[in-house]
């Protein structure tokens, strides 16, 4: 119980910071310093944070190289698009998130149970294939309006909703990672055989992380659809999965703080490069290569910003379970 209390303290600290951050942003918005352009950027960054922390859970903590994150995002996005177009109420929106999450979980189990037996690049290519299959099915269905995608989706995912969702998913993932469950999946990453011989059911924990990641991706997809009010199957292709992967690796595999930092950095970089026309992606690619060469472990490596760290001054790794 002591851990719970200990974690509780840190969670409350984070919560206070998050609330303060919200009021700060809101004040800036009311003052007109954050206009709809910056708001747009912040929302995109927020959605990317949800996606990246979710994928980091799968790649960084469970050590399972998944390249299919965009497929689960698509499920959430289409769930929200279809449900809210038919019932344009806040209730409909939240129901659609839940429905999206449930379908994503089912899909993740269907994809995960067989493929998580594979490892490394084989798993990556299999999950990529699974995500493509999801996308192609969506592309050919009537209810999803095929390749034209759906538009005029009612907007419920305003900035505060996205902000709260970012906080909720981040807290959930952070707590998951620090719980016993988190240590179990980390042990799977470090050495599957040793973990298994220590009595950890590696298959289940891998699947748990994968499903959890998929669920958060679905939430991000819902928010994306509802905020932009437009979705199309092309948004959820291999390139989208890769761009989420880039955020994770750039921030540091196994560092949630890193994912957040990288999402912010890339979000700002991407927005700033809008004026460069065709040169934009050239600069982006060059920046990517250079960062990777000079900082191969990502911006933050596997370090985390943690209050536990700041409060007690002791190393996170040195903590003993009581």
């Amino acid at each position: 119980m002591t851990i719970l209390k200990a974690n509780f303290k840190y969670n409350v600290s984070w919560l206070i910071i998050m609330v303060a951050g919200f009021y700060l942003m809101n004040t800036l918005m009311l003052m007109g310093i954050i206009d709809s352009f910056i708001e747009n950027m912040l929302v995109v960054i927020g959605i990317n944070i949800i996606l990246a922390t979710g994928l980091n859970l799968v790649i960084g903590f469970a050590g399972q190289f998944s390249l299919g994150h965009a497929g689960f995002m698509a499920i959430g996005a289409y769930a929200t698009a279809i449900i809210t177009t038919n019932s344009a109420t806040a209730g409909g929106f939240y129901t659609s998130i839940v429905v999206g999450v449930i379908i994503a979980i089912i899909a993740a189990i269907i994809v995960g149970v067989p493929t998580l037996r594979l490892r490394g690049d084989y798993l990556a290519i299999a999950t990529m294939g699974a995500a493509e299959i999801i996308r192609i099915i969506i592309n050919n269905l009537q209810i999803t309006n095929g390749p034209s995608g759906m538009f005029n989706i009612p907007q419920f995912a305003t900035w505060p909703v996205v902000y709260i969702m970012v906080c909720v998913t981040t807290i959930l993932i952070a707590n998951f990672v620090r719980s016993r469950a988190g240590r179990a999946i980390k042990s799977v990453r470090e050495d599957e055989i040793a973990a298994e011989s220590a009595g950890i059911n590696t298959t289940n924990w891998k699947l748990a992380a994968f499903v959890f990641g998929a669920a958060t991706a679905a939430i991000a997809g819902s928010l994306d659809a509802s905020y932009l009010q437009t979705i199309a199957p092309t948004n959820f292709g291999i390139m989208e999965s890769i761009s989420i992967l880039i955020i994770v690796v750039l921030g540091g595999v196994g560092s949630l703080t890193g994912s957040v930092v990288a999402a912010v950095v890339l979000g700002i970089l991407d927005t700033a490069l809008q004026n460069f026309g065709t040169l934009r992606m050239v600069i982006y690619a060059a920046a990517l290569i250079l960062i990777m060469i000079f900082k191969p472990t990502g911006l933050l490596g596997s370090h985390e910003l943690s209050f536990k760290h700041l409060f007690s001054g002791t190393k996170r790794k040195g903590r003993v379970r009581s």
Binding site: I171, A232, T234
Partner: protein, 420 residues
């Protein structure tokens, strides 16, 4: 799979149970956490949040700002850059002539070009930037329907009109309830009109009764046209197959068409793929008419298909080399384009060129470059003399203009029929 069975302890079963208990415990903890957070969220929901409402951008300076939200990189980068060339040329011509006449005062255009990398989220961001920070009078673009619909909420909030040169989805300019989007316009045909025209032409003029469709399945353009054709064609559709942008091999599908005894093939898509389809169909000995739409009206089509193969090919188009002989505006444009870019003008450039001039017309008619006025002006455009024909904006903000069907023989346009 690794051989791990031998390494397991017998005691594992007990640990599994322990696992389960701990899983439940952590679930409990999560739920408590979630409840706390949800409670906080309630508090958030109660407080007022910032919102922006626009009354449109006023233009008081000595220039008129026009934004461009365009696919300059990414999947549709090729088409976007062709449009950019048309936009740039139109703006240069207007500025060389002194600018746009706003209530007796000539003002030059200040063109702000931004790339949306063929992504919906970026398109929304670019539109917000153009409308709120750069305070443009109007936006030209984007080229694709999806990027276009993504910008609609932002420009509507800011009350800035956007004129897309090539977003063809029938619902692009409409709200969910079927009413027109007040700030969304297009300079091109919508799919139903063009697909229907192609269907009529195939039935009446080509006398084809059995048609095979091979459409682009990665854009709304291809699927929308294919659907429109299917609905309005009186004969039989013997096969309905698709391809994705970037595909290069169509032999398998074309071979399957052979046994279906099709007497015409309808290929809604862009020139990059349609050119290859024509090439491979003729190589495979399929010599029936191939009918397409304005997406293939590009000089590059014949080059990719091979001049010899580009025979018995028909496509609907607002604009062409043939038409330019009759239309002085088009003739002038073709000549200037050739001089500036050293190539034959593609349809996308012509549509984009017209878009800029339609905005100019709207500003001059309304005697104001305020964004709301520009929107009103665009809605009222009538009999505008454009490169792509005489354009009238209808009540749904679609561009009404005559449509023609051109015939290719040995890579040359040999005939142009107007369709009513």
């Amino acid at each position: 799979m690794p051989d791990t069975k031998g390494g397991q302890f017998v005691r594992q079963a007990n640990y599994r149970k322990w696992d389960g208990i701990m899983m439940k415990k952590s679930m409990m903890k999560k739920l408590t956490g979630f409840a706390t957070i949800a409670a906080t969220a309630m508090i958030f929901a109660g407080c007022s949040t910032a919102s922006t409402t626009g009354s449109g951008n006023k233009q008081t300076g000595n220039t008129i700002k026009i934004g461009v939200n365009m696919e300059l990189s990414g999947a549709a980068g090729g088409y976007g850059n062709q449009q950019k060339q048309g936009i740039q040329m139109a703006v240069d011509e207007i500025n060389d002539a002194g600018g746009i006449n706003v209530n007796g005062k000539k003002k030059k255009i200040d063109l702000i070009i931004k790339d949306n990398k063929t992504a919906t989220s970026t398109s929304a961001s670019v539109a917000a930037q153009l409308a709120n920070n750069d305070k443009v009078s109007a936006i030209i673009g984007p080229a694709t329907t999806n990027a276009g619909t993504a910008q609609t909420p932002n420009i509507t909030k800011a009350a800035v009109p956007a004129l897309s040169p090539s977003a063809t989805d029938p619902d692009y300019t409409l709200q969910k309830n079927g009413k027109v989007q007040p700030y969304v316009f297009r300079a091109c045909y919508q799919n139903n009109f063009q697909g229907g025209t192609a269907a009529k032409f195939t039935y009446n003029n080509l006398k084809a009764r059995r048609v095979a469709i091979l459409g682009d399945n990665s854009t709304d353009y291809g699927t929308g046209l294919a659907k429109a054709f299917k609905n309005q064609f009186k004969g039989k559709i013997v096969a309905n197959q698709t391809f994705a942008a970037g595909d290069k091999d169509f032999n398998a599908v074309l071979t399957s068409f052979k046994s279906k005894k099709a007497d015409a093939i309808f290929v809604p898509g862009y020139y990059s793929e349609v050119g290859l389809i024509i090439n491979q169909a003729r190589q495979a000995g399929i010599n029936v008419p191939i009918v397409g739409t304005d997406g293939m009206a590009d000089p590059q089509l014949v080059k990719i298909a091979g001049a010899k193969n580009a025979t018995n090919v028909y496509y609907t188009t607002p604009f062409s080399t043939m038409a330019s002989k009759k239309n002085p505006t088009a003739a002038k444009f073709m000549k200037a384009y050739q001089a500036k870019y050293h190539q034959v003008a593609p349809t996308f450039s012509a549509l984009a060129y017209d878009s800029v001039n339609m905005v100019k017309q709207a500003i001059e008619n309304e005697k104001s470059a305020d964004s709301k006025k520009v929107a009103a002006g665009l809605a009222k455009i009538k009999n505008f003399d454009g490169v792509t024909g005489t354009i009238t904006i209808d009540k749904d903000h679609n561009a009404q203009k005559p449509i023609a069907i051109e015939t290719l023989k040995n890579g040359k346009v040999v005939n142009s029929v107007s369709i009513k």
